[in-house]
């Protein structure tokens, strides 16, 4: 008698879990953990250990020191200016690239990555060569009483350059996937350009936009190379937090240096946490539609 394949009497097929053998798994997980401990947890722990080496009072004093406060202010100012501007540029660039076709579009899309590809030091040097007081344009600006290099505008411009791609990178794939359908529907319903942007496009990209802005903030806070070249390291005036950490360190003021560095770690952790929360929302939101 032949048994039909799908008769009820046959025992259920036991599916063997498809995965790597146990030793391989243990090895891979172990290596990852080791790497994490060695390169992330340990150094971060050391930062705090050093920062609190001389106790709470010293820590607070190092942070309350006027130059430190100026550095924090400068960094936050930079972020406050750079992030909205780059959000605007990023949306514009992503909009142009995804919704229109024009000659040079592919080249523009490739060039968007340039700030990531170029070493930050070179990015800084470009602006020194372009706007420094020895260049014609820079000296003309100087005559007008505008100083860019070795002052706050230079820092902002260098940071703008370095963090430019974040928002656009985030938005382009998103907007490409969404296509132009909804915008065209809105157009046939009589909406004007700004109404379409405000009511349709922006709500559709808001999570991606916020996500890009967070990445942009994180980088703007931490940027060292490009800012270092254009800043001139004037204490209390053109020192951002990372630069201030560097200076304190090179003066062998280790504890103060690490105390200020711990501020950066806090800021970084905050952005990472916000990013994780957003990622969660973002995924939920895009899988829903």
């Amino acid at each position: 008698m032949s048994t039909p394949l799908l008769s009820q009497g046959t025992p259920p097929v036991v599916r063997k879990k498809i995965s790597d053998p146990l030793p391989v798994r243990i090895l891979l997980i172990g290596l990852t953990l080791l790497f994490f401990i060695g390169f992330v947890f340990l150094p971060l722990g050391l930062v705090f250990a050093q920062a609190f080496q001389k106790g709470w009072d010293f820590y607070l004093e190092a942070i309350r020191e006027p130059y430190t406060i100026e550095a924090v202010k400068l960094t936050l100012t930079t972020v406050a200016i750079v992030v909205p501007l780059n959000a605007f540029f990023g949306v514009t660039a992503a909009w142009a690239i995804t919704k229109f076709s024009f000659p040079g579009k592919a080249a523009l899309k490739t060039l968007l990555d340039l700030p990531f590809a170029v070493s930050p030091v070179i990015a800084g040097l470009i602006f020194v060569l372009l706007l420094g007081s020895r260049t014609p344009f820079g000296s003309w600006l100087g005559e007008q009483g505008i100083k860019i290099i070795f002052s706050t505008p230079g820092i902002i411009i260098a940071t703008l350059f370095v963090t430019f791609p974040f928002v656009a990178r985030e938005l382009i794939p998103l907007m490409e996937a969404q296509g132009r359908d909804e915008e065209e529907a809105a157009l046939t319903l009589g909406a004007k350009g700004w109404q379409i942007f405000g009511k349709i496009t922006l709500p559709n990209i808001r999570w991606g936009l916020l996500y890009g802005m967070i990445l942009c903030s994180a980088r703007a806070i931490g940027e060292f190379g490009a800012v270092s070249v254009v800043s001139g390291h004037i204490r209390g005036q053109t020192n951002t937090i990372p630069l201030h950490v560097e200076i304190l360190y090179s003066e062998y003021n280790f504890t103060a240096s690490f105390a200020v560095a711990s501020l950066l770690v806090f800021l970084a952790l905050t952005t990472v946490i916000v990013k994780a929360v957003m990622e969660n929302r973002f995924q939920k939101n895009s899988s829903q539609h």
């Binding site: 359908d181 909804e182 065209e184 529907a185 809105a186 157009l187 046939t188 319903l189 009589g190 909406a191 004007k192 109404q195 009511k199 349709i200 709500p203 559709n204 829903q288 539609h289």
Partner: protein
């Protein structure tokens, strides 16, 4: 006149998507634009709506030349192939969109908007779904909301781009009938794009068949179906047997028999031709009688809903013939695979062979 298209031509780089299209549609008419995939249907609708510009030609809507108007001023309702509902807005907001973006001077009051949206949603039988988001609706429901959204702004004309193509056959048929009924109520001049001939035949006041950017034929469904203008239309409107043959002395030979060739072929010398016979225009019997001495063997029997499909191999034909007969006849004749039967062609149409399909 509802819609007047004059000599519309559109090229994409070197590809001619629309080739000198002229078409008149009366006010309140519902016409079906029927053609195979890639023949330019969507392109034509997009040009009428202003989402794409024609290289040449004129578009006149309700007597007004709208050729160069931007889409927002055309006042055309567009129902897209893939719904294109606003995913972040709920059903109510979707339908209200066109009213809410009106300039303040023309914008109805909040309560008027509410009344209108509710009225439209009732019309499309979606009033229960006000608060839902597009992702929470089925395809058919989404398409009905899209239709309500397009109607909200009182469009001069309504353009529907294969609105039901993504739905299953049953839902499609239901929506088709429902749309026809709706159109009888609201009478807005409409173009309905489809590549489904059944849909076009059932729904439209008039059918326009296009192929490769050109209009092949237009007329009522009856006219187009009964008197196809050429081989393409014949072939496109339903299943058909195609036999290739030669015209000789005004006659076309068909498996050892001769059929009268059409006039335009008669006078020419020998020429290749195509002969068309629809499966349901073939008679089957078990007894030889005059005029049906074509003999064949049943190779296959298929159940096609109410009809029975027969695949018959006939002597003198290089390909088997598809026939469709009523179920009753099939039962009466007690047909089986391998039976010998006699075949009559009740209606034959011959075209010159200048077509590849």
């Amino acid at each position: 006149m509802g819609i007047e298209l004059q000599n519309i031509t559109k090229k994409f780089t070197d590809y001619t998507a629309l080739d000198n299209i002229s078409l008149n549609i009366a006010s309140g008419e519902l016409i079906a634009l029927l053609g195979p995939s890639g023949c330019g249907k969507t392109t034509l609708l997009r040009i009428i709506a202003g989402l794409e510009s024609a290289d040449s030609g004129k578009i006149i809507l309700e007597g007004k030349d709208t050729t160069n108007l931007p889409p927002r001023e055309k006042n055309v309702g567009f129902v897209f192939q893939h719904y294109a509902l606003f995913r972040r807005l709920n059903v109510y907001e979707n339908v209200a969109f066109g009213l809410k973006v009106l300039p303040r001077s023309k914008r109805p009051s909040k309560s008027e908007i509410k009344d209108r949206v509710e009225h439209l949603l009732k019309l499309v039988q979606m009033e229960w779904a006000l608060k839902r988001y597009p992702s929470q609706l089925s395809g058919g429901q989404r398409q009905r909301v899209a239709l309500a959204r397009a109607l909200a702004v009182n469009p001069r004309v309504l353009l529907l781009d294969e609105p039901f193509s993504a739905l299953d056959a049953k839902v499609r048929q239901e929506l088709r009938r429902w749309l026809r009924k709706l159109h009888d109520e609201i009478h807005v001049t409409s173009i309905f794009v489809t590549h489904d001939q059944e849909e076009a035949l059932e729904l439209a006041d008039r059918i326009v068949v296009i192929n490769k950017g050109k209009i092949e034929q237009q007329g009522t469904p009856q006219e187009v179906y009964d008197h196809p203008a050429n081989a393409f239309v014949y072939n496109f409107l339903g299943n058909v047997n195609v036999f290739h043959g030669r015209v000789h002395e005004g006659m076309v030979t068909l498996g050892g028999h001769s059929v009268d060739a059409p006039d335009e072929l008669k006078n020419s010398a020998e020429k290749t031709s195509q002969t068309f016979v629809r499966p349901h225009e073939i008679g089957i019997s078990k007894i030889r009688s005059e005029g049906n001495d074509l003999e064949g063997t049943i190779r296959e029997i298929r159940l096609l809903g109410g009809q029975i499909g027969l695949n018959i191999e006939c002597e003198g034909f290089d390909q088997p013939i598809d026939a469709e007969i009523p179920r009753e006849l099939y039962l009466n004749l007690q047909l089986k695979k391998g039976d010998r039967v006699f075949v009559t062609f009740n209606k034959v149409k011959v075209f010159a062979c200048d077509y590849e399909i």
